[in-house]
């Protein structure tokens, strides 16, 4: 039982709950110590399965410690440490408390050995993380957070329904390989898919992450989506549909990223694109591909946090993160600029940076399986991600035309967090052996061959050339103060309108029905009138009836939306 007591999940959740009691230096020390204590707890965990007990006749397993869960546990703790240091200047205790509980919940979910435990932590990540969005304390963030919460809770509900179908059919709640054809498999697949931001289920991510606080987005970027990647890798490795879903995910967000003005939203689109690479790896399902997915999740969490930290620092100092209003900030924030460029080089997969040693595994796996179309799409997406994350982000924020804005360099704690993340990005890129040693399967892969390096450098250099030529010729679309509609248009605009229209039609029908009932009442006499007339029982039940109908219509609409 010692493993349960020392679970890093509970270290963070209980430790996070204590944050509001502390002030000043004590809270700062506590915030940095918590992830470190979590790491010590994780290092002390023996491999194996712990915390089995019976609940209502079903076998639960709170802790499954194996190579998958340990790898994700480590990177989640690293992300928690980076986020904690980055948010040290924040006086608002809600952010740190919510952030730690959120990180702990994600770690708890990663170690869950059964679907019910997974469900509990799955929902806990939703209800803790929404406070990181609400902490922005704007009307916009509040609404965005509500939408985020509805989507996340829906994902949890589908997971629960799927788990119940599985337990009814098989009598087991075990969280192992599931597959689409298993009882409840499709529901669980969609539940994971929502959190993983599958195409058309993705827009909660770009909607909510850029609305959170500077520190909140750093926390958010690490956990929810990578928990979903982990869950998919556990439950649906080798599911062919994932190759195509993933390929689509790598490709379509980059079109949005090119024209998006909010630079943190650009990063949210590129986060979606990076998830696509991992999903393709899961779909291929070979040892090399799954190793690639695990490695890419690990490196991605760190460089994505680094990029969000650098943009958060800009937002914190300048007060805006719109590309159209930024530029020339390298003069004011030189260190942040350098850290941002390290993150950009990592996500782009430059040799000697972390993205290179992980993404190339997935591409090689796709090539080895002869998946020509998927491979070409991934290569396109690799070029595209350099274009919008690698060049656009640092270019429009720190270079481009000088916006005339001058500000202070980021606070010391933000710089420290960025420096650690940047060091990890370079360290993993130069010396990937320790990461490779942690991967789920034995690694027989050499990233640094002359052929790999040259091919990747050609791809990146010519992508940069395309950007330079398009910029110089004025063809590149300038950053403008527009927003772009995405699939959120359906539930933020079309559905409310359709419902309003339906409500108007419903009111009219309602009036007709009452008139008709009244007319019938005249004909059939007082007895019928007392039951069905305008003052009658049936008419009285109309408002409750319509409420129930409304609730049902809305539920159906949500369900339909997420099935499509």
């Amino acid at each position: 039982m010692s493993a349960i007591e020392l679970s890093p999940a509970w270290v963070l959740i209980l430790g996070g709950a204590l944050v509001p009691l502390l002030r000043g230096a004590a809270r700062a020390v506590w915030a940095v110590a918590l992830p470190l204590i979590g790491m010590a707890a994780l290092a002390a965990l023996p491999m194996g399965e712990f915390g089995q007990f019976s609940f209502l006749g079903y076998e639960l397993m709170l802790m499954r410690v194996d190579r998958w869960s340990v790898l994700f546990g480590w990177v989640f703790l690293i992300a928690a440490l980076l986020s904690a240091i980055y948010s040290l200047h924040v006086r608002d205790w809600i952010q740190q408390a919510a952030g730690f509980c959120y990180a702990g919940a994600a770690i708890g979910a990663v170690f869950a050995g059964d679907l019910l435990t997974l469900f509990v932590f799955w929902e806990l990540t939703a209800v803790t993380s929404v406070f990181l969005i609400w902490a922005r304390r704007t009307e916009r963030a509040y609404r965005s957070g509500m939408r985020y919460l509805i989507v996340q809770i829906t994902s949890g509900m589908l997971l629960l329904f799927g788990a119940l179908q599985q337990v009814t059919a098989t009598g087991s709640l075990e969280f192992g390989h599931i597959g689409l054809d298993a009882p409840g498999g499709l529901l669980i697949f969609i539940a994971f898919g929502i959190k993983c931001a599958f195409p058309l289920l993705h827009n909660w991510l770009q909607d909510s992450y850029p609305e959170a606080t500077e520190s909140g987005t750093v926390f958010l970027s690490a956990f929810t989506t990578k928990l979903a990647v982990y869950a998919l890798a556990r439950g649906f490795a080798g599911t062919e549909a994932l190759i195509w879903i993933g390929a689509l995910m790598t490709a379509f967000p980059i079109f949005y990223a090119v024209i998006e003005n909010d630079l943190r939203r650009v990063l949210a689109y590129s986060l979606n694109n990076q998830l696509g690479f991992m999903v393709v790896g899961i779909g291929i399902g070979t040892e090399l591909a799954l190793n690639g997915t695990a490695a890419h999740a690990f490196t991605h969490i760190i460089y994505k946090a680094l990029l969000f930290m650098s943009m958060g620092a800009v937002l914190y100092r300048v007060g805006t993160i719109n590309g159209s209003e930024l530029g020339g900030l390298y003069k004011s924030m030189p260190y942040t600029t350098v850290f941002c460029i390290v993150g950009a080089a990592s996500i782009s997969g430059f040799p000697l940076f972390s993205g290179f040693i992980s993404k190339s595994m997935i591409l090689s796996a796709a090539g080895m399986e002869g998946l020509l179309v998927a491979w070409l799409v991934l290569l396109f997406a690799s070029a595209g991600v350099f274009h919008h994350s690698g060049i656009k982000i640092p270019y429009f924020a720190f270079f481009a035309h000088d916006s005339g804005k001058r500000c202070a360099e980021a606070p010391a704690n933000m710089l420290a967090a960025m420096a650690i993340a940047a060091a990890l990005c370079v360290g993993l890129g130069v010396y990937p052996a320790p990461l490779y040693a942690m991967l789920p399967f034995p690694v027989d892969y050499v990233p640094y061959t002359g052929s790999h390096v040259l091919a990747q450098m050609q791809l990146l250099a010519f992508s940069a050339l395309a950007f330079a030529v398009l910029m110089r010729t004025g063809i590149y679309p300038p950053e403008q103060r527009w927003i772009n509609i995405d699939s959120d248009y359906t539930y933020r605009r079309l559905m409310p309108r359709a419902l309003r229209l339906a409500a108007r039609g419903f009111d009219a029908a309602h009036a007709h029905a009452i008139a008709l009932a009244g007319g019938l009442g005249e004909m059939l006499g007082g007895r019928l009138r007392s039951g069905y007339g305008p003052e009658g029982r049936l008419a009285r039940t109309w408002p409750t009836g319509s409420m129930a109908l409304w609730a049902m219509v809305m539920l159906l609409a949500y369900l339909l939306l997420y099935y499509l």
């Binding site: 090119v258 491979w375 270079f399 040259l454 395309a466 398009l470």
Partner: protein, 89 residues
């Protein structure tokens, strides 16, 4: 980087000068040329046959990015809305 206007009292930066921005621009061209030039010296090995074509990754990257930007530029006309679009009504 096209508008070089250091504020009063600020030291001029290297990138503030137009000719240095030009140097960066032509530097990218030179880098691309070098990366193509060294290809015969490296044994290219790829899982997919045509990826071994001469300079494949180079022209694919260039064409992909130009196509991406042009397509996105076109899509923007369809997708863009005023900033307060969802805050209305």
């Amino acid at each position: 980087m096209t508008e070089a206007k250091p504020k009063d009292g600020e030291r001029s930066r290297w990138l503030d000068r137009k000719e240095n921005v030009d140097k960066v621009y032509w530097g990218v061209w030179v880098l691309c040329a070098l990366l193509i030039a060294v290809e015969p010296l490296v044994h290219m090995h790829a899982e997919i046959a045509f990826a071994e074509w001469f300079g494949f990754h180079g022209w694919y990257g260039f064409v992909a990015c130009v196509a991406l930007v042009l397509a996105a530029k076109g899509l923007r006309v369809l997708l863009r809305r005023p900033e307060d679009f969802y805050e209305r009504d």
